[in-house]
């Protein structure tokens, strides 16, 4: 109850400068603004500089923390919190919102798009705000592709080809909110079963599954593997820094907003609100076009100033518009999906890639031998290597999905996470081993 009253007072306080219009900010801003962010200095630097020039009385302090450390820090410092959290992953903001660690605000800026791709730009409840959009796609190292004679991939399906065996990298969805959304988008775009089949077949070509999002562009930049499934700015900014890499958006992609939010109990809330308005202003949005930042503005008019060829998700209908995104389904199975991906792919990558190597070899052999028996065995091997132990209906079932969520008194008691994970792990090992044996038999069949 006290929390609510405080929030109302804060909300009322927020209205005052709004009514007085933008210039009035200058008189009411605090001297300091502390921002916790997971963005690099390349991204934050230009914004902070321009903001301080505009509001000379306010000194902005940037605290760089990884997303996990940032969320933990805000959670543990309630008595004297930082003022803002500024990061990509929408799920981190959801966690903060559910913990009552953010405060409500309604940005005054106009000309901002309502939706980008499948999701609304701002949190519908007003706790955090999108300031830029990013989409997932494929990044590749041109030197590596030339040296290994690899064709340039354009669609997710291209990555299924045997030519890419051992050349593809991704970060785990449990470690990267944006990878999670990509996997979810593929599942929603192609349907649960077909989507997983695609995912597992691509995974058969994985060189590794990285535990941090930046590990993937790092490896592609250094040429450890050739192709990475990454968020656009990783690819675009690496190219802008001179690395021999290119980036393409596949047809089925999703756009996600990168966000900023004001922390509950902030002592410099006026400055924080001014910072939000600045990010969304024409001046702030133009900064996004900087080659070292390369994110997509949410203020649609900015694209008129962008260089030719700059992706525009609001004009280019192929960007993120093919999939209608079911937010509820995504939210129910969020944790389950992460765990399932880890059991089926991350932790059993060796077994999975061995199975697919055998399947690729058998496919070539059966094509030559035209053996009916071989074809039958191969189809069975493929089935085993593209199936998951959970149906779409089960993934929605609170009895199962609930086992992966935080225990709460108002949620029904579900079975234990550890039990499901053990079953899935056994399923994956058994299927991949069997698929490998069947594929080897198919290759030998005459």
């Amino acid at each position: 109850m006290p929390r609510n009253t405080r929030r109302q007072i804060l909300a009322a306080a927020a209205l005052v400068p709004l009514l007085a219009a933008a210039p009035a900010f200058a008189q009411t801003l605090e001297e300091k603004l502390v921002i916790v962010t997971s963005f690099s200095r390349d991204v934050t630097g230009p914004f902070v500089e321009a903001f301080q020039k505009k509001h000379p009385g306010t000194k902005v302090e940037i605290q760089s923390r990884s997303t996990t450390a940032g969320v933990s820090f805000i959670r543990e410092t309630r008595s004297n919190p930082p003022d803002m959290f500024w990061a990509s992953a929408p799920d981190a903001f959801e966690v903060l919102k559910k913990g009552n660690l953010l405060q409500k605000y309604t940005p005054a800026a106009t000309g901002i798009a309502q939706r980008v791709g499948p999701s609304p730009v701002n949190d519908p409840e007003g706790f955090y705000f999108g300031f830029a959009a990013s989409g997932y796609g494929i990044m590749y190292n041109t030197r590596y592709m030339r040296a290994n004679n690899l064709p340039v991939p354009k669609e997710w399906d291209d990555l299924k080809k045997p030519a890419y065996f051992g050349h593809v990298g991704i970060s785990a969805p449990s470690r990267s909110g944006t990878t999670h959304l990509t996997v979810e988008t593929i599942l929603q775009g192609e349907g649960w079963n077909k989507g997983w089949a695609t995912m597992l077949e691509i995974a058969g070509n994985f060189a590794s599954v990285s535990d941090r999002s930046f590990g993937v562009p790092d490896a592609v930049n250094s040429g450890q593997y050739g192709v990475g499934i990454v968020i656009d700015f990783f690819g675009l900014s690496a190219k802008a820094s001179g690395f021999p890499v290119e980036f393409v958006y596949p047809t089925i992609t999703t756009m996600v907003p990168a966000n900023i939010g004001i922390v509950a109990g902030s002592r410099n809330a006026n400055a924080a609100r001014a910072f939000v308005e600045f990010l969304l202003s024409e001046e702030g949005q133009t900064i996004l076009l900087d080659p070292k930042i390369q994110r997509l503005p949410v203020r649609t008019a900015i694209y008129d100033k962008a260089p030719a060829g700059y992706p525009n998700p609001f004009k280019d209908t192929s960007l993120g518009s093919r999939v209608t995104f079911d937010n509820d389904a995504s939210e129910t199975r969020y944790e389950l999906l992460n765990s399932l991906f880890d059991r089926m792919i991350t932790f059993r990558l060796k077994e999975l890639t061995e199975a697919w190597k055998a399947i690729h070899a058998a496919t070539a052999a059966v094509e030559r031998s035209k053996s009916a028996e071989g074809g039958r065995l191969l189809a069975e091997a493929r089935r085993l290597a593209t199936t998951v132990p959970v149906t779409e209906a089960q993934a929605k079932d609170p009895q199962i999905a609930g086992a992966f969520q935080e225990k709460k008194p108002d949620r029904p008691v579900a079975a234990r996470q550890a039990e499901f994970e053990e079953q899935w792990d056994a399923f994956a090992r058994r299927n991949y081993a069997e698929a490998k044996t069947l594929a080897e038999r198919a290759a030998a069949a005459r």
Binding site: S38, S40, R41, D42, E61, I62, Q63, S64, R65, S66, T68, A69, V71, S72, E76, T77, S79, N80, A89, D91, A92, V95, G99, N141, R143, Y144, A147, S174, R175, S208, V209, S210, D211, F214, D218, A219, N221, S222, G223, Q224, Y225, F234, S237, A240, S241, F243, P244, E335, D342, F347, E406, K407, R416, Q417, A418, E419, E421, E422, D425, A426
Partner: protein
């Protein structure tokens, strides 16, 4: 009634102390150590880890049962044990000859080798990972050359064997440092007697010299085991997830999830590490490694023959080149422009260094300050704990040792969250802000995390020190306190120095707790600076340049501490004060 109590209490206390072979001074030391451990390790970590024993309403062991029912956990446990054992073996192959050659022979550049031998411990976060991949990776320099010349690749960094290779290169200095300190402490009379009795060569080494240096070797090997067992940077760098530490890390650091299994794994890691160290202590029990003669510089130095020289220098050069190649990679990265799928960077530049010297000077000073304080705390506490555990009969003395050792397995993130949780609302006087984010707390967090290193070195040093030297001092009227400070500590100097250097070097690149506790650039250390740069592709060069700075800072500090130790020793022997 009161009179009776008043007279009997001191009497009982005195008799208890006598039974414990302790003095009030020892009690005070034990109290300080216990207070430090409780305040900065037990309470903060406990406040986070209790989830492993909590089902929402009450105490439970169900999560532990789950651990043993989960096949991937069992597999991970075996993988971790296998990797740790094999790494100790690999590290031994590198470290024992290096230590023996530098201590046993009149060898040019022994100090340089000892300094260079510490550098592998300093693997700057992220930069080290990138450099390792660029040198040893699938398409790293070495494999690209092999591919060009011979048409094949070597899987240096694939699977469990890759982990063993990288960890061995990274952590062999633990054995090198502790074994060197131990070898230098051997009484040369022992060696001479053996020679008089006809032993020489391999027989002399394997039957006399190495066994006498056993405490140092075991201390180093136990540290390598525990560290590899709990290390997550390397498995994550190689994307090997089927080991315990990465399993714990992946679960503990998922955004916003309170998954009890992560803490269950952490607890099991702590228990297994402590058991490993305890087993290593058992292997030394009931044997006496102490010798009475001191200060003669240990083994007699011998000149090398021509063929021996070639072999010795050849091995040293090979081992150091192998161990330092990631650092050569970091150096190239810091001077390179673009380095992608090629043996060397495309071109070279000084731009990255001008970038960091513009805005990174403070990082350097902070790192030296924090790590210096942390290493100092570690050797003081390490000496106290070793002394209490081995020289007194205080009840619970081994618990102090084990609790301090448990820190080796506590993830930095868990310690960081725990410190914030425990101390954030404690305000410093004079508007200094929160105690948890005060810069000294960073030094304390480092000291907690690195205490096991210093502790093992100090314990090994004390094991080689004969009790009779202290008794002699006491018979001559020295108090317990002055025996400790005037006799024991100077005689342990080599081991204490080894502990100081390992604590300092490894603290210089600590990241996970740093990321939680730093609040301002002005008070941030180098590792934070590296993290900030390595967030973007353009920051790779400056990040590597900062990594080079971190390595240089550690190298200079190490070299200086050797110089000081050497001068100290030389001064004492010259004055005829050899003890």
């Amino acid at each position: 009634m009161t009179a009776v109590l008043a007279t009997s209490a001191p009497v009982r206390r005195a008799s208890l102390l006598a039974r414990w072979r302790a003095t009030p001074f020892h009690l005070v030391c034990a109290g300080i150590v216990a207070a430090f451990l409780v305040a900065f390790l037990v309470v903060p970590v406990g406040s986070v880890v209790f989830i492993a024993f909590w089902d929402g309403q009450s105490f439970t062991l169900v999560h532990f049962a789950d651990f043993f029912r989960t096949s991937i956990m069992i597999e991970s446990t075996w993988n971790s044990i296998y990797v740790a054992v094999m790494t100790v073996a690999f590290a031994t192959l590198l470290a024992v000859p290096l230590a023996y050659i530098t201590v046993r022979f009149r060898f040019r550049g022994a100090a340089l080798i000892q300094t260079l031998g510490v550098i592998p411990l300093v693997m700057p976060p992220f930069v080290g990972a990138v450099a390792m991949q660029l040198v040893y990776g699938r398409n790293g320099s070495i494999n690209l050359l092999l591919m060009d010349w011979f048409g094949f690749r070597l899987p240096f960094m694939e699977g469990l064997n890759g982990v063993i290779f990288v960890e061995g290169l990274h952590y062999f200095p633990f054995i090198l440092l502790n074994l060197s300190a131990s070898l230098a402490n051997i009484d040369s009379a022992m060696e001479e007697s053996a020679q008089n009795l006809g032993a020489s060569g391999w027989r002399l080494f394997s039957r006399i010299v190495f066994p006498l240096a056993m405490p140092g070797y075991i201390a180093g090997a136990a540290l390598v085991f525990a560290k590899v067992f709990d290390d997550l940077a390397t498995p994550l760098l190689l994307n090997v997830t089927n080991m315990l530490a990465p399993q714990a890390y992946l679960r503990v650091t998922s955004v916003g999830l309170a998954d009890p299994m992560g803490y269950v794994i952490s607890t099991i890691l702590v228990v297994l590490s402590v058991v490993a160290v305890w087993l290593s202590m058992l292997s030394l029990r009931n044997r006496d490694f102490a010798t009475q003669q001191r200060g003669g510089g240990g083994l007699a130095k011998r000149d090398l023959g021509r063929a021996e020289s070639v072999a010795a220098y050849g091995f040293v050069a090979f081992a150091l080149l192998l161990a330092l190649s990631p650092h050569i990679g970091i150096l190239l990265l810091s001077f390179g422009t673009i380095w992608s799928f090629s043996v060397l960077p495309d071109a070279f530049t000084l731009a990255h260094y001008s970038t960091i010297f513009r805005d990174a000077g403070g990082f350097m000073a902070n790192t030296v300050l924090y790590c210096g304080i942390a290493a100092l705390i570690d050797v003081v506490l390490g000496t106290m704990i070793a002394y209490i555990a081995m020289r007194t009969g205080l009840p619970g003395r081994n618990i102090l040792d084990q609790v301090a050792m448990a820190a080796v397995a506590v993830p930095g993130l868990v310690l960081g969250i725990g410190i914030l949780r425990t101390y954030f609302s404690v305000e410093l006087p004079f508007g200094g802000g929160s105690l948890a984010t005060f810069w000294l707390m960073l030094a304390i967090a480092y000291s907690v995390r690195r205490l096991p290193y210093a502790l093992r070195s100090c314990t090994a040093a004390l094991q080689q020190l004969h009790h009779s030297l202290e008794e002699a001092a006491e018979n001559l009227g020295a108090s317990k306190a002055s025996t400790l400070t005037r006799i024991v500590v100077p005689l342990m100097a080599g081991g204490i120095l080894a502990g100081f250097v390992t604590s300092f070097a490894t603290a210089a690149v600590e990241l996970s707790a740093t990321l939680l506790l730093v609040t301002r650039d002005a008070t941030a250390p180098l590792s934070y600076g590296i993290y900030v740069y390595m967030q973007s592709p353009a920051g790779r060069g400056p990040g590597a340049a900062l990594g080079v700075v971190a390595v240089v800072v550690v190298a200079v500090a190490t070299w200086l501490s050797y110089r000081v130790a050497e001068q100290d020793r030389a001064k004492r022997t010259r004055n005829g004060m050899a003890i």
